[in-house]
């Protein structure tokens, strides 16, 4: 259990700024996601924590102690690699035992601890197998057990579930979170999958172009994206770009009301609205009174996805994306005239 702090961390590869002044604190026992597109610098940051990246400037501290000059093998961190990086010439038990045996632990103590780890990741009886004889999910669990066996201060995970198929990934998400709670370790994982970040983490740090864009609890980051990038990267968003006029944002074909504090009259402003916050109705009579932002349009496309339906609605020269639960007797067909409505509190002011 430990606290990890990055302060004004910078790293450039030639002209590319992988990390451009990132400051971030991970609290004791927290489970945090570093979320960003590929090339955003999230993996570089994780590798800097592990000690595999030498920083150009800035500091990394664990439990208040500067670790910039501590080599990886003395940082006492556990790491799960993207493709697990299990040692192919060792059995599962030998893989898990590795961290203890390089520290010179006693044989009996190692055997006992390895058994406990195998139980933790539900792989009892698999100790004698070679990694290649295991499925992807099982290899993933071995990698996790191997990283946790030495009771490290921090667990780092690089796209831990990226190599698994969808169903297995969902199962492992639940399991990973359970194990993290059970062990009570400070864990930081890198992912480009926003759903994974929202499901697993209790804190999400969004990184883009080497900078920290926003950090917060999953709900905060999703419901109140700080920038246009976050709005678009974490889920889908309808963006309304316009200028402030009379306490609203004037866009082509009307003005959008919001509860957010707007900049001065005439200044440019962008509002983001999540697709599931938009309600579709055949006429204004059926709409709740608080849905004051109303756009008339027609359905261009309805994408059926079982439990939900995604509508593309054309309103003026604007296209809206709308998610609806599959509750209606029949989905609305193309060319149906609709009113798309949403409440002012769901129109979030975002930075460009």
């Amino acid at each position: 259990m430990s606290r990890v702090e990055a302060r004004a961390v910078r790293k450039a590869y030639g002209a590319v700024k992988a990390l451009d002044g990132v400051s971030l604190t991970f609290e004791d026992g927290s489970f945090s996601a570093l979320l960003g597109p590929s090339g955003s610098g999230k993996t570089t940051l994780l590798r800097a924590f592990a000690g595999f990246v030498t920083l150009d400037s800035g500091t990394i501290a664990i439990d208040g102690k500067l670790v910039n000059d501590v080599p990886p093998h003395r940082r006492d961190l556990g790491m799960v690699f993207q493709n697990y990086a299990l040692f192919p010439h060792m059995t599962v038990a030998e893989n898990i035992a590795f961290g203890l045996s390089v520290r010179g632990a006693a044989r009996a103590a190692i055997a006992e601890r390895v058994e406990a780890m195998l139980r933790l990741v539900r792989l009892e009886g698999f100790g004698a197998r070679k990694p290649r004889q295991l499925s992807g999910g099982q290899q993933q669990r071995v990698a996790l057990a191997r990283a946790l066996v030495t009771r490290p201060r921090v667990l780092l995970l690089d796209e831990p579930l990226g190599a698994l198929d969808r169903r297995l990934r969902q199962e492992m998400q639940i399991e990973l979170k359970q194990i993290q709670r059970e062990v009570g370790i400070t864990a930081i994982f890198v992912t480009h999958d926003q759903e994974e970040a929202l499901t697993l983490a209790d804190r999400v740090a969004v990184i883009n172009e080497g900078r920290l864009v926003q950090v917060g609890m999953p709900g905060e980051v999703y419901e109140r994206p700080a920038t246009r990038f976050v709005a678009g990267f974490l889920g889908d968003a309808n963006l309304f770009e316009g200028r402030v006029a009379g306490g609203r944002v004037a866009v082509g074909g009307g003005a959008i009301a919001t509860e957010d504090a707007l900049p001065t009259e005439g200044a440019p402003a962008i509002l983001a609205v999540r697709p599931e916050k938009v309600v579709l109705a055949a006429d204004a009579a059926g709409l709740d009174a608080d849905l004051v932002n109303r756009l008339e349009g027609r359905i261009v496309q309805a994408v059926y996805a079982g439990s939900a339906i995604t509508y593309i609605v054309e309103a003026g020269d604007r296209r809206l994306i709308v998610f609806e639960q599959n509750r209606a007797a029949a989905p609305l067909g193309p060319d149906t005239a609709v009113i798309a409505a949403f409440a002012p509190r769901h129109a979030v002011l975002v930075q460009p």
Partner: protein
């Protein structure tokens, strides 16, 4: 496999092995003039036992090949590790410069070495032959071990480091076991390069000192004696045995996680 490709493969194998089979069979023929029918006899093996020159040359060859194998494999493996895991100035150029020594004819390299060794006072002799063989073998080792290293990337080493292994522990317990099959293959290569080597050995051997290929060449020029068949038969059996042992070992060690 179709019948045609089977027949083709058979023809290739016959073409490849026929001369070798003839030589081995003739080693057991009493006649020195390759007369048929064969009279089976081990007379040439007995003659070989009394042929000091051929035996001394064989011993020289074996000793040089073994020394070369050890030196070239160690140096070449270290070079391959450096090329694969470190970024340093001139890395690409140095790696590129390793390749031409494989393609430049040995005759030219041998002449160049002879001239250089005279200039700088190394001269000729077994030490010069060994030096020449090591220089010749290293590129093969770097390439063979490098191919193995490229197959697993730095992730395993980083994993070991993250688990608390020092660089030395990482090498001994992870990197080396994983590349070991490549190192064994490279060592066999180095042994073969040295044991087969004629041109450089010929150029760098002073009168009275020779290796097996040089001695066989001399024997053929002076008048062929079937002892050469006998020693060749022994060498063929030993090297095929080594090759088979290696094939087993490599498949065993070559298994990798997916």
């Amino acid at each position: 496999m179709s019948r045609l490709s089977q027949a083709l493969l058979g023809a290739v194998l016959v073409f490849l092995y026929m001369p070798i089979v003839v030589m081995v069979v003739m080693a057991f023929n009493r006649s020195a003039l390759y007369e048929l029918p064969i009279e089976w006899d081990t007379v040439w093996f007995q003659a070989l036992a009394g042929n000091e020159r051929l035996l001394t040359a064989s011993m020289n060859s074996i000793l040089i090949a073994l020394a070369n194998t050890v030196i070239a494999t160690v140096l070449g493996t270290m070079a391959a590790l450096a090329f694969a895991r470190f970024r340093f100035r001139g890395r690409n150029l140095m790696r590129l410069l390793l390749l031409p020594t494989i393609t430049i004819p040995w005759l030219i390299i041998g002449t160049a070495m002879l001239v250089l060794f005279f200039w700088i006072g190394i001269g000729r002799g077994l030490h010069a032959i060994l030096l020449g063989h090591v220089a010749l073998s290293i590129p093969y080792v770097v390439i063979v071990v490098g191919a193995r290293l490229a197959g697993f990337g730095p992730a395993l080493e980083e994993a070991a480091a993250s688990l608390g292994a020092s660089p030395w522990q990482t090498f001994v317990r992870v990197s080396f076991p994983v590349i070991a099959p490549g190192v064994v293959a490279a060592a066999l290569f180095a042994f073969a390069v040295s044991f087969d080597q004629f041109v450089i050995s010929y150029f760098l051997s002073p009168p009275g000192v020779s290796t097996l290929p040089v001695e066989i060449y001399a024997a053929i020029r002076k008048g062929f004696t079937p002892e050469v068949n006998a020693i060749s038969a022994i060498i063929i059996l030993v090297s095929m045995g080594l090759m088979l042992a290696f094939a087993r070992l490599y498949r065993f060690g070559g298994e990798r996680g997916s």
